[in-house]
């Protein structure tokens, strides 16, 4: 039985003032952006310490986002695996259908506080793009969302949702035309529009302070899980599981448990067509450290240091890097990073739909796919919490195509 740790330990002290989690993180950006990055850092620190900012954020999370999200005991899924109790953290029930809104709400309030008048964002699956477009609509700010042309094609409903919300979606055709290229293009926009533009990064990666800031805004997930689990079971869980692309939903649920050594943390990377196929998106399991998009972290790259394309059925996990805090948690052994293939995830998607009546995002289905191993690890009396980071309605067409069905 785990009791909450009485005192914080070293894990909560990161990143340092230079934005480092051990060797990872940092601020690898062109000089033109560096003063803006310092300005953002100072503004975020002031906001974080300001009770008025926190109260405003908390109020919007309650009344607009719909927090707290439920912690749901998945009885039939638990019976199916015949072991540890499985709880689902229902982030898919948030406004806009994923955890992405938690971060966007924090960042839009910060952007307003900084007097910025134009918002740019990148998106993969479109979940962060929709969340960005949503908060921009709510606060009346123009929003440009960069999205890889390949993703525009496979996530059409989300593109239309963004348009309905008044955002301009820019299809990016450079490179592999997916999330990493969308991020390149957003950075090019930012370096060109330095005076009025706020870059709303959607994952816990990029240059400091983004990995820390996005983690902080997403940590509401883990904080709620702590309280909800104490209320439901009177103790902390034995394991927490989440899918990892850039890793914002994972770090959000992990972070409040980092100091509780008895809580095992499992991230699940996208293995695409299989780790041996070379067509995957697993930066930790299949990459090595390097610098991309402002931070030092594990990356998919060739022997000459060129970034290689990621492959995943899930547009939201289709990224060759990962947030720097995950790279560090992997190196120090605090979290374990597993993988799930496209096929594993499709099976998990269908299983959850049929056992619990919940369509998970194909991203979250990667985490579901590793439940058998996690359940076995913690034993029959254990408790597992899985972050159900998004809803799967957006993925219905993709799933149908892979199942060979027409809709």
């Amino acid at each position: 039985m785990n009791a909450p740790s009485p005192a914080p330990n070293d894990y909560s002290a990161y990143p340092d003032a230079q934005g480092r989690f051990g060797d990872y993180g940092g601020r690898y950006v062109p000089e033109t952006l560096m003063p803006l990055v310092h300005e953002l850092d100072a503004a975020y620190r002031a906001a974080k310490a300001d009770p008025a900012f926190q109260a405003e954020l908390s109020s919007f999370l309650t009344h607009y986002v719909g927090r707290p999200s439920p912690l749901y005991f998945a009885e039939r899924l638990t019976q199916h695996y015949g072991g540890a109790k499985i709880y689902l953290k229902r982030e898919e029930l948030n406004h806009t259908g994923s955890h992405k809104i938690n971060n966007c709400m924090g960042q839009i309030l910060l952007a307003r506080r900084m007097g910025k008048t134009r918002i740019i964002a990148e998106t993969g699956a479109g979940q962060h793009g929709v969340a960005s477009a949503t908060v921009c609509a709510r606060f009346g700010l123009p929003c440009v969302v960069y999205m890889g042309a390949v993703d525009v094609e496979r996530q059409k409903p989300n593109v239309f949702r963004m348009n309905l919300l008044g955002a301009q979606v820019e299809a990016v055709t450079s490179g592999s035309a997916t999330l990493k290229d969308a991020m390149n293009e957003a950075l090019r926009d930012w370096v060109t529009n330095v005076h009025d533009t706020y870059y709303m990064i959607g994952t816990a990666a990029g240059m400091h302070p983004y990995p820390e800031m996005v983690r902080d805004f997403q940590s509401v997930i883990g904080q709620e899980v702590r309280e909800q689990m104490m209320a439901a079971e009177g103790r902390l869980p034995d394991a927490v599981v989440a899918c990892v692309g850039g890793g914002s939903n994972a770090i959000g649920i992990f972070h409040p448990f980092l100091n509780d050594e008895g809580v095992r943390l499992y991230g699940v990377e996208a293995a695409g067509e299989g780790m041996d196929s070379g067509r995957h998106a697993a930066a930790i399991n299949g990459g090595r450290p390097g610098v991309l998009h402002g931070n030092m972290t594990y990356l998919l790259q060739d022997p000459e240091g060129q970034i290689t394309e990621a492959h995943s059925i899930s547009a939201g996990l289709d990224y060759p890097g990962i947030g720097p805090e995950h790279s560090w948690l992997h190196d120090v052994g605090r979290a374990t990073y597993l993988t799930a293939t496209d096929q594993d995830s499709l099976e998990a998607f269908t299983l959850l739909a049929q056992l619990e009546g919940i369509l998970p995002a194909i991203e979250s289905a990667h985490a579901l796919a590793r439940l058998p191993e996690v359940v076995k690890d913690v034993g029959k009396d254990g408790i597992v919490v899985l972050n159900l980071s998004g809803r799967g309605d957006k993925d219905v067409a993709t799933v149908a195509a892979h199942l060979g069905r027409t809709i």
Binding site: Q18, G26, R27, Y28, V29, P30, E31, T32, L33, M34, P35, L36, S174, G175, K180, D181, N184, L187, R188, V191, T192, V194, P289, G290, V291, L292, H293, G294, M296, L299, Q301, P303, E304, G305, Q306, I307, T308
Partner: protein
């Protein structure tokens, strides 16, 4: 040794009373053999210094022209190793024209800063610009380059205030590079009147010759900037010539060198003309 090549070139230009024309080319664009031919032809066409880009898959500060140049080079198998090999081949025919490498951090990190610095010095390079390494992250790289007497050129930009300029120039040697527009390469146009006071700021902060780049496309613009700066860098307009030549099936080398020639002439005559006006 190598730092003196840049210093010697600027001393000679100062004696001539003119600005430097700095030509940027992407290594291996459109292929290794043509790239080397262009490189060897640059000094004769009027380039006083050469920036050699080493391609990266995700060049976040480049506009479409240099993005496409990098892609052409990568598709033909260009690498950092082959870039250094190309510089070594150039040094067999030219021992005096300074060469500054320009690119992104990851290929360098992949090779290791110390190994890279040794190899670059051995190949005959003189300096290095890394777009995504600001002063905050520069120390390990600067130390490695110092050990091999290579110059690190940290970029100064319109958003760098005087306090940052001091930090930037403290770790910069050879010459100061002023990025004349907030933006990516080859899109916005630089304006000489706007640039002039910034050049003075950069010169005052470091005491180094100041070259201006990003957004200079035409001989007229190059001449205007040459009247207020110690050097003019042109990149996107040159790599666009590669694309154009390929599109109309002309000699890439002839087309690029002809453009270099017209830009270099404009830079060389800029101050003479301004005296006679």
């Amino acid at each position: 040794m190598t730092k003196t090549r840049i210093d010697a070139r600027f001393a000679a230009l100062k004696a001539e009373g003119r600005a430097a024309f700095v030509a940027y080319v992407m290594a291996g664009d459109p292929d290794y053999a043509t790239g080397l031919e262009i490189l060897k032809g640059l000094p004769g066409a009027g380039a006083d210094l050469i920036e050699v880009g080493f391609p990266f898959s995700d060049p976040m500060a480049e506009g479409p022209p240099i993005q496409r140049a990098a892609l052409r080079a990568l598709n033909k198998g260009m690498t950092l190793s082959k870039t250094l090999q190309m510089i070594a081949a150039f040094r067999q025919v030219d021992q005096t024209t300074p060469i500054v490498l320009m690119g992104y951090a990851n290929p360098l990190i992949n090779r290791g800063f110390e190994t890279f610095a040794r190899d670059a010095a051995a190949a005959g390079a003189d300096g290095l610009i890394v777009v995504d390494i600001p002063p905050e992250e520069a120390d390990p790289l600067a130390d490695a380059l110092d050990a091999e007497q290579l110059s690190l050129l940290l970029l100064s930009t319109p958003t760098s205030d005087d306090a940052r300029l001091k930090i930037i120039l403290k770790r910069t040697s050879g010459f100061a590079y002023y990025v004349s527009v907030a933006g990516v390469t080859g899109v916005k146009e630089a304006d000489a009147a706007t640039v002039a006071p910034h050049v003075e700021r950069v010169r005052a902060a470091g005491g180094l010759p100041v070259c201006v780049g990003f957004g200079i496309k035409t001989p007229e613009r190059a001449a205007a900037v040459a009247r207020v700066a110690d050097g003019v860098v042109v990149g996107s307009a040159l790599v666009d010539e590669v694309a154009e030549a390929l599109a109309v099936n002309e000699s890439v080398t002839a087309r690029v060198l002809s453009k270099v020639n017209s830009l270099a002439k404009a830079v060389r005559s800029a101050r003479v003309e301004s005296l006679t006006v």
